[in-house]
């Protein structure tokens, strides 16, 4: 149960971060929508999302060999963050 709640909380937080970066309400962003094709997120916007991930979750820079082009939606980003948290032992930088 706790793991389920944490996953939902993570999705919610990632959703908020993306909405903030796009100056939209979370209700305007379908978690499975393609942020670039459907919602016109630009290259600078996605960089700010990753910066915010570093600030909020303390996760490191995306590995150079990682293909970030396959990360298209809020759900994809949530899975990415979850993976990074697991790889770093769940490091969490609370501001």
């Amino acid at each position: 149960m706790k793991q389920h709640v944490n996953a939902a909380t993570l999705l919610e937080k990632v959703h908020e971060i993306v909405a903030e970066a796009m100056d939209l309400e979370t209700s305007e962003i379908d978690p499975i929508a393609d942020l670039f094709e459907d919602l016109a997120l630009d290259s600078i916007g996605i960089v700010m999302v990753y910066v915010e991930f570093s600030v909020e979750f303390g996760i490191p820079e995306p590995p150079r060999e990682a293909d970030l082009s396959i990360i298209r939606s809020v759900e994809d980003l949530t899975q990415y963050v979850a993976g990074q948290l697991a790889a770093t032992g769940g490091a969490h930088d609370n501001r």
Partner: protein, 144 residues
């Protein structure tokens, strides 16, 4: 590339250069210092606000330290300017001249054309501002 080389590559010049010296650096982090003196043109132009340093200037200081780090570790091609695409600042305490402001910046995202960074600016050991930013390489087609 040396620190002097990286500084020489910066397009900014005084009074719009906000880095005096690099204190320390790794491949993803840098600490650099700038002294805001009372006779600095921006301070003098802001004297009616108690010689406070504008937040926009502190954000520029952060962006410049990020650029130096990107140059030092060749995260961007040589002699390639970076354009700031987005900057966000949170100002926790006002900064008044004269002050030495240490900017500690970490690059948290880098790909061939973009850099993402986060910074903390300290005065007297206390964090005065936090800055987040994203920069992209100025392409030849975009240059006037």
């Amino acid at each position: 590339m040396t620190i002097d080389d990286a500084l020489a590559e910066l397009p900014q010049e005084p009074p719009f250069l906000f880095v005096d010296k690099v204190l320390e650096h790794t491949d993803l982090t840098i600490a650099a210092i700038f002294s805001y003196e009372l006779d600095h043109p921006i301070v003098m132009a802001h004297r009616n606000v108690g010689n406070s340093i504008p937040g926009a200037v502190l954000m520029e200081q952060a962006a410049q330290t990020a650029l130096i780090l990107a140059k030092l570790y060749t995260l961007v091609p040589a002699e390639t300017p970076l354009l700031v695409g987005a900057l966000q600042g949170k100002f926790l305490r006002p900064v008044f001249a004269p002050s030495q402001v240490i900017c500690r910046t970490a690059i948290v995202y880098s790909r061939s054309a973009q850099i993402g960074f986060k910074s903390e600016l300290e005065v007297g050991g206390e964090v005065s501002a936090q800055v987040k930013g994203a920069c992209s390489i100025l392409r030849a087609s975009e240059a006037k």
